[in-house]
């Protein structure tokens, strides 16, 4: 006895874009609902029930471009299932227990580009019908039982860009296997989670790749010997927490001497006997990622890294910044030491040899310093990006970043700052465009705090509090007339002086959300036009009629989660709101708080009828 459910009862597909994009996930549907328009182009149909796909299943939806059939218990994809779908570009069959796909099951689409066959029980590549795959660019085959990557001869590989075999049972790569892929250029090949135990010598000889991923392989020498004489942009060789790791030795990297690689990732490995010659074969490498490799130091005088451009040392165990022995990689432009496991002492001049350094990330590293940052950042003349966010308290000197005159972005979020001098610690950062001071517990009353920042465009002051919960007429913003984006959310503001922003003429984005501002605060914005204005979650109940022009001249406004008044005392605003709905963001959550009878009703649904004397009010939903 088969089990049929009348689908119309169940149907609640949601429309993402009218006539085009629909989401029908998780509805236990057994067919395409009649209510779905013929013109549908993007269809999310995951987690339904379609044991058999055949030429009638989707025949009505002739405009389909993207079809996601994840976990629909599909067993069969029969002949010509997509024959009426010339535009179809992507088919997702992830998580279906496929028994058979007919030879012509993928015929129809003019240019099928992306095919997802993840976890479909495939044990050999000839399960995939080869017809009509000439334009295929990505083929995702993760989490199957594939043990050999040998494609059938008839398989068109010439346009492949992404070939993802992660989490299969591939343990050996033969020369022939890799040869089949020689037509593909710029290929990204993913063998993550396969633990490859052997590669036939010469298999990768003079092959060129965009990226190669051998993540989770226990024996890296097998990989690096197997890759001799190949070229790849990126080589991902990291491992994972739950895997046993043998420990990397210098000998394992021998093969690299005969390879051309731009970027290498070794995340989460251990090094056995890390020495100055370990990286001997890394001479051509531009980027090296040593995230979480349990390092507490790098030996001095490392060979092979003299032309390294980018070094990632996140989540390691350094005590002191000088332990990285920065002099070994003098060409570095980017250095990341994020999330250091121990408290990181910045030391003095530890990076002074890195004259070309442009980007430095020291966030989340438990850094503490009472007198920052000139000694610590000595000689970083070209530094443009500095991230010191999420650290322990820092005491900033005056002109604390004098050593880095070219800073463009400075992120100090969540790092408590003490400013030791009356002058601005940021003085003379002529190029500074972005300054993130959110959650810094700063003394905002210092009017000179932001002096000398002629190019500042983006200022984030979220969660700092102003004295008396108010921005006075005279305030620290007066010195940064170049500001375009200003974030003052969660600053516990109860009022803003009408003149508070008068010197800010270039603003395009003002975020005042999560404060306690009343409706009349809007007055402070009267000189601004065409901005994005976020006033969500404040205490706005009534907006006086004389301020409506101020709102009218802005481009997008968010008033959601305010206790709006829906009585006749606010009739002007409500009327104007409904006429200008297109300007508003979050109108679903823009609701009445008052009168009690209208609490929670969307402002856009309220119908007021007010005379000179209020005669009544009602609403329509």
């Amino acid at each position: 006895a088969s089990c049929r459910v009348i689908t119309s009862l169940d149907w609640m597909c949601s429309e993402k874009e009218a006539n085009k994009t629909y989401n029908c996930e998780n509805l236990d549907l057994r067919e395409i609902p009649d209510t779905l328009p013929d013109t549908t182009e993007f269809l999310e149909f995951s987690f339904n029930f379609l044991p058999t796909i055949q030429n009638t299943t989707f025949s009505r939806l002739t405009n389909l471009i993207f079809l996601d059939l994840t976990r629909c218990q599909i067993n069969w994809v029969h002949e010509d299932s997509f024959q009426s779908h010339p535009q179809l570009d992507t088919i997702v069959l992830t998580g279906n227990p496929l028994i058979f796909m007919a030879e012509t099951s993928l015929n129809g689409p003019k240019s099928l580009k992306h095919l997802f066959l993840i976890q479909t029980g495939i044990s050999s590549l000839d399960f995939i019908p080869t017809h009509n795959l000439e334009n295929l660019e990505s083929l995702y085959l993760g989490s199957n039982h594939i043990s050999s990557i040998k494609f059938p001869e008839s398989f068109p590989t010439q346009n492949l860009k992404v070939l993802d075999f992660q989490n299969n049972a591939i343990h050996y790569l033969s020369r022939e296997d890799i040869n089949v892929l020689k037509q593909a250029t710029n290929l990204s090949l993913n063998f993550n989670g396969n633990d490859i135990k052997g590669i036939e010598p010469g298999a990768f000889h003079s092959k060129v790749f965009q990226s190669l991923n051998f993540g989770g392989t226990l024996n890296l020498s097998v990989i690096l010997n197997g890759l001799r004489n190949s070229t790849t942009q990126s080589l991902w060789l990291g491992t994972y927490q739950e895997l046993d790791d043998q420990g990397l030795t210098s000998a394992m990297f021998e093969g690299l001497c005969e390879m051309s690689v731009e970027s290498i990732n070794l995340q989460q490995h251990h090094f056995s006997g890390l020495s100055s010659t370990t990286f001997r074969c890394f001479t051509g490498v531009q980027e090296l990622d040593l995230t979480a490799t349990h390092l507490d130091r790098l030996p001095s005088g490392i060979e092979g890294l003299s032309s390294l451009k980018k070094l990632v040392l996140n989540v390691n165990h350094f005590d002191q910044l000088c332990q990285i022995n920065a002099a070994s990689f003098p060409s570095l432009t980017d250095l990341y030491i994020k999330g250091n496991v121990r408290k990181l002492d910045l030391g003095a001049g530890c990076l002074e040899k890195l004259e070309n350094l442009q980007k430095l990330d020291l966030s989340h590293s438990d850094i503490e310093a009472s007198d920052c940052c000139n000694l610590q950042l000595k000689n970083l003349r070209h530094l443009q990006y500095l991230n010191l966010s999420h650290n322990e308290p820092l005491g900033l000197q005056s002109q604390a970043f004098k050593e880095c005159p070219r800073l463009e972005l400075l992120d100090l979020a969540f790092t408590h700052l003490r400013v030791n001098a009356p002058q601005s610690p940021f003085q003379n950062l002529h190029f500074l465009q972005v300054l993130n001071l959110s959650h810094c517990l700063l003394d905002i009353s210092n009017q000179h705090l932001l002096a000398g920042l002629p190019n500042l465009r983006h200022l984030n002051l979220q969660s700092n509090s102003f004295q008396e919960r108010s921005i006075p007429e005279t305030n620290l913003l007066q010195t940064v007339g170049s500001l375009e984006i200003l974030i003052l959310s969660s600053c516990d503001l109860h009022s803003i002086d009408q003149q508070a922003f008068h010197s800010l003429g270039k603003m395009s984005h003002v975020d005042l959300s999560h404060n306690s501002l009343p409706g009349n605060s809007i007055d402070a914005l009267s000189h601004l036009k065409g901005i994005y204005l976020n006033l969500a979650t404040n205490r706005i109940s009534v907006i006086p009629p004389h301020l409506l022009p101020v709102l009218s001249q802005q481009s997008i406004i968010n008033l959601s989660h305010n206790p709006l008044d829906c009585t006749c005392s606010n009739i002007h605003f409500i009327t104007w709101y409904k006429e200008n709905l297109h300007k508003f963001e979050g109108s679903e959550e823009t609701t009445c708080a008052n009168p009690p009878s209208l609490r929670g009703v969307k402002l856009s649904d309220v119908e007021l009828s007010c005379g000179i004397t209020a005669v009544g009010m009602f609403f329509l939903v």
């Binding site: 006895a1 055949q54 028994i99 058979f100 796909m101 007919a102 029980g121 050999s124 000839d126 399960f127």
Partner: protein, 144 residues
């Protein structure tokens, strides 16, 4: 048909080429199966490659194929071929169990021969040592 309702299984194409077309339909009330042949020509090559996918409803410690060939209703050929035997499990799938899904893609070691022009009906039956049906198909071969 979810479990043998009256409906018939769809007719599938095993292969189709200029001169030869092979269609089949499962005659097992319990289930359909998938099958295709890598090439199809009047001058049938030896050692064809096939693809075959099915759910086993029986253990196949032993597996036999019976082929009966008819044309215009009269029998031309009957043929029985052991695929898995206790003392000679020819293929890796021999010995798989009831409930397993199997997929075979590979050679079948057939001899090559010329298919005479005509339309043929073929009844194929796969069964195990207890004569329980593993798969059953009515096929039509059209050679022009």
């Amino acid at each position: 048909p979810d479990s043998g309702g009256g409906e018939a299984w769809p007719t599938h194409t095993a292969c189709r080429d200029g001169s030869l077309e092979v269609l089949y339909q499962s005659c097992d009330p319990l289930q359909d199966f998938g099958f295709s042949v890598d090439q199809c020509s009047k001058q049938l090559k030896s050692n064809l490659n096939i693809r075959f996918g099915i759910i086993l409803r029986e253990d196949i410690k032993e597996l036999f194929l019976d082929v009966a060939l008819f044309t215009k209703g009269s029998s031309i050929l009957n043929y029985s071929y052991p695929i898995c035997e206790e003392d000679l499990p020819k293929f890796t799938f021999c010995g798989r169990r009831k409930g397993e899904q199997i997929y075979y893609a590979g050679p079948i070691n057939n001899p090559g021969f010329e298919v005479p022009v005509g339309e043929y009906q073929v009844l194929l039956e796969l069964y195990n040592e207890n004569h329980s049906t593993v798969a059953c198909a009515n096929a039509t071969v059209i050679c022009s």
